[in-house]
């Protein structure tokens, strides 16, 4: 089978690709039943299928994109702001042709910092860059009658629509699931909101900190004598976007079985709760709500209730958890040996039979535990993060640095795994370094193929070349504020 097949370089290509019968069978499932029935009557089913496919989905291929990645035959229309942009980004990483549809003037999430060279400008938001790479971009006022019609034309050839407007908004402007599925019964609509489409809080305002609070994750982070804290960089809507990608692709699988699209309703609050499935179980099973204890973990029903897990070292902090049992013993023994070189291993550590305890080491006496903590505090404070981590790897001790973004960028492990993708930004005259997609695939490419789109960057490609609007029509639509 030709690895490059199915290609979408356009129906104008002079010679059709050779298609094996097997390949034709596979390709034919892409088509709606209507087209399928029509083409199977032709004498050259492979070629006709190919043409039918491209009549439906004719567009210019993204420049750098490999032709066959996980999901390259499909298209998504991405109407989201920061609440959902990661969902489209993940589909884009998998090769979906994701078209970001922004209101004229640009998506509001372009105002989110940090900014390139600290210049607040809609084309310089680093947040926007990060989660809108691998997308093309058009502008469209979907509230106007012309805009709605253009949008529906795009829906005909799309597989996914992702949106993050307030509940009810899409219905109000005539683009709710019912209306969209009439245009294309196979369409999968994914709606991402702070609290979901239903329920007493559906119209409440979301924000990263409020969602963090309502997920119960915030209550367990921070110091007991101060307010609970959220994470240092916004996270809630990334969980929502990730959850949405899973839901969208689940519905997509079902579309293969049933031929039907459906509507996916994502709640950011629930998505964030999935990040911490241990918490509610504490209450359910033991009637205890975990509490925050800074660098320690508070453990109920244990002799030494506060277990330190984050430790100061010479240039920052490291994470080490005193575990026992078969899991903890080898690391503890290796650490004792290393501490002993500096004469810092206390007698109790040297003679401890760690395997006599369970993983949490609960039964170690308070005196022993306090002595161990004292020794570890001294030992760690004499070394840098890098020294501790390097030696921990060598000696197989589960001890990890509390990395800063600078540490991450200089991490040799990430370097060796080619974690940093160079993404060109010709307008800035610069190449920026991004984290690449986290999945390494044996058969298909998965990378950052293109930087995030400029405002309306692909209007000509989509409206002109694909939908066939004339220059005059595009000028009119632009003057009318539609695009």
């Amino acid at each position: 089978m030709d690895r490059r097949y199915p290609t979408r370089l356009g129906a104008t290509q002079s010679s059709p690709p050779t298609v094996s019968p097997l390949c034709w069978l596979v390709l034919s499932d892409y088509l709606s039943p209507h087209i399928h029935n029509r083409v199977t009557k032709q004498t050259n089913p492979g070629y006709n299928t190919y043409v039918a496919k491209h009549e439906r989905e004719l567009f210019i291929y993204p420049v750098n994109q490999m032709e066959e990645s996980l999901l390259s035959p499909y298209r998504a229309l991405d109407l989201t702001d920061e609440k959902g942009s990661l969902c489209g980004r993940i589909l884009g990483d998998f090769g979906v042709d994701v078209v970001k549809v922004e209101p004229p003037g640009g998506d509001p999430s372009r105002k989110i910092g940090p900014f390139y060279h600290d210049i607040p400008h809609p084309e310089k938001s680093l947040h926007w860059f990060a989660y809108n790479a691998n997308k093309r971009g058009i502008t469209l006022d979907i509230e106007s009658a012309d805009g709605r019609e253009l949008f529906k034309r795009l829906v005909k050839s799309a597989d996914f629509i992702i949106e993050s407007f307030s509940p009810g908004y899409m219905d109000k402007i005539g683009l709710g699931y019912a209306a969209l599925s009439e245009v294309n019964p196979q369409i999968i609509l994914t709606s991402i909101t702070p609290f979901g489409q239903t329920g007493p809080w559906r119209d409440y305002r979301g924000s990263d900190i409020a969602l963090w609070a309502l997920s119960s994750y915030m209550y367990v982070e921070g110091d007991a004598d101060r307010a609970p804290v959220q994470f240092g960089s916004p996270q809630s809507y990334l969980h929502a976007g990730l959850e949405a990608a899973v839901g969208t692709l689940t519905a997509f699988h079902y579309r293969r079985l049933s031929g039907e699209g459906q509507w996916i309703d994502v709640s950011a609050q629930q998505a964030l709760i999935v990040a911490n499935l241990q918490n509610q179980q504490y209450w359910d099973l033991t009637r205890f709500s975990p509490v925050r204890a800074g660098p320690c973990v508070h453990r109920s029903g244990v002799k030494w209730a506060y277990q330190r897990r984050v430790w100061q070292c010479q240039d920052g902090f490291v994470c080490f958890i005193l575990m026992a049992g078969a899991t903890g013993a080898p690391g503890n023994e290796a650490l004792t040996e290393w501490m002993d070189i500096d004469g810092l291993a206390p007698e109790c550590m040297k003679h401890m039979d760690w395997t006599a305890y369970d993983i949490r080491a609960d039964e170690i006496t308070v005196e022993d535990y306090e002595e161990i903590v004292k020794a570890l505090t001294t030992f760690f404070s004499r070394h840098t993060k890098a020294e501790l981590y390097q030696e921990a790897i060598r000696r197989r001790i589960p001890l990890y640095p509390c990395s800063t973004v600078e540490n991450l960028r200089n991490d040799p492990h990430l370097e060796e795994r080619s974690y940093w993708a160079q993404v060109e930004h010709p307008e800035l005259g610069e190449t920026l370094i991004y984290p690449r997609p986290c999945m390494l695939l044996s058969e298909t490419p998965c990378n950052i193929w293109r930087r995030a789109p400029l405002i309306g960057e692909h209007n000509q490609e989509i409206y002109g070349e694909e939908l066939g609007l004339s220059t005059a029509e595009m000028v009119l639509l632009k003057q009318g504020g539609v695009i």
Binding site: L214, E260, Q278
Partner: protein
């Protein structure tokens, strides 16, 4: 009910959190999952709390339960010489093989991707290693808090003048597990189109770092290192968690516009301090935010966290109770959304499981089977799914293959 993934079969060799969560998501949407464990080396989260009624036991950890609903649980001692043939049957049955042991473990039991592919050429296999399958740090074992530290979450969270906090639970696992599920679903479509399987090397730490992409770009473009900054927002005020009436009760509040600020002042009864010049503008509020926070707290402390949230949200201001584990169970929105499912477990009886964050209109997630006790489904899975005869089953059981 129709299940979205009812034709998908998973041989689940995962443990701890990232792998089990990845597969659980598929199981919630109808995939058939056989979860392979061994009694000779228990999954560490089987002996990690919370335990039902605080009594430890192999089958009593809620932590294990919440990541293993809807699965058939079997035991198979892969080190037993006769286990290979059973593993072979399992892989022939499966579309997907999932694992998250330390790199090298699957090789040692003869289940590397190359070997698995020999058994089933179009298999899709995912390894959710803590730091991926290659690289100098790949083999160092890690748990949740370790990886949250390594991936940059610990050093960037908390107060500038204090030690950073432990990141609770298994944060990067939860990110990696869901990236894994999404990748598997995409790989299934690729296999359907091309007939080709796939090997997926997904590093938990790398998945987590993707959630810090903006600060990483900030470092690259502006050489800024994200530091701990409590609950301060870089471009707005007031923003934080405010103490409310009661014992350790808090409400998070975020005000982004002048209009929202006016609404909040109205809710607070338009206190005279709010009229002062220094709080009238956005810039003033940001520059005097410490004092602003103090003044706001004088108001919030007279109300319950729930009152503060409701009053502000009804006025169009983003606010949320800092919920405890207990609060989740009485959260009216979660109740309406049917977030929690109560399932009957063989040993501990009824307990609560979380649903997913996505509601699918035609094929919603459905939790129908509590997590398995160790080896609970051995007889059913080995005889009814993998086709062993009763005699074969008893024979292998007696030889210790299912230990």
């Amino acid at each position: 009910m129709t299940r979205a993934l009812e034709d998908v079969k998973v041989a689940d060799f995962t443990w701890v959190v990232a792998g089990p969560l990845c597969v659980r998501i598929l199981a919630d949407f109808g995939a058939q999952v056989i979860h392979v464990e061994t009694g000779t080396r228990l999954d560490p989260i089987r002996y990690t709390p919370p335990y039902k009624d605080n009594i430890p036991g192999t089958n009593r950890s809620g932590y294990f339960h919440n990541y293993n609903s809807n699965k058939y649980g079997i035991t198979l001692n892969l080190k037993h010489p006769k286990a290979a043939e059973i593993a072979r049957r399992l892989i022939q049955w499966a579309d997907i093989v999932a694992e998250n042991f330390n790199p090298g473990v699957m090789q040692r039991v003869g289940l590397s991707y190359e070997e698995v592919r020999e058994i089933k050429p179009d298999i899709i296999m995912i390894s959710l290693g803590s730091k991926g399958q290659t690289g100098p740090q790949a083999h160092l074992p890690a748990f949740g808090a370790h990886l949250a530290a390594l991936s940059g979450f610990t050093a960037t969270t908390g107060w500038a003048d204090r030690d950073p906090p432990v990141i609770f639970g298994a944060y990067t696992d939860s990110i990696a597990g869901r990236f894994g599920a999404a990748t598997l679903l995409a790989a299934l479509d690729y296999r359907r189109r091309t007939g080709k399987g796939q090997y997926i090397d997904l590093s938990q730490s790398e998945a987590g770092i993707e959630f810090l992409a903006p600060p990483l770009l900030d470092y690259d473009a502006n050489r800024r290192i994200l530091e701990r900054h409590g609950n301060r927002h870089p471009s707005t005020a007031p923003h934080g968690a405010y103490r409310c009436r009661g014992e350790d009760r808090w409400c998070a509040v975020a005000v982004f516009t002048d209009e929202e600020w006016k609404s909040m002042c109205k809710v607070m009864g338009n206190p005279s301090w709010a009229e002062e010049d220094r709080f009238a503008t956005f810039l003033g509020r940001k520059q005097n935010e410490e004092e602003l926070d103090h003044l706001i707290e004088q108001w919030t402390m007279n109300h319950s966290a729930e009152e503060v949230m409701t009053l502000l949200q009804e006025a169009g201001v983003s606010a949320g109770v800092v919920e405890t584990a207990e609060d989740l169970h009485s959260d009216p929105q979660l109740k309406h959304r049917h977030h929690f499912w109560v399932l009957e477990h063989q040993e501990i009886g009824h307990s609560t499981y979380d649903s997913t964050g996505s509601h699918l209109s035609k094929t919603p997630a459905e939790l129908h089977k509590a997590a398995h006790t160790l080896g609970e489904d051995n007889y059913y899975a080995y005889t009814q799914i993998l086709g062993l005869s009763d005699e074969e089953f008893v024979d292998l059981l007696e030889q210790g293959v299912f230990d």
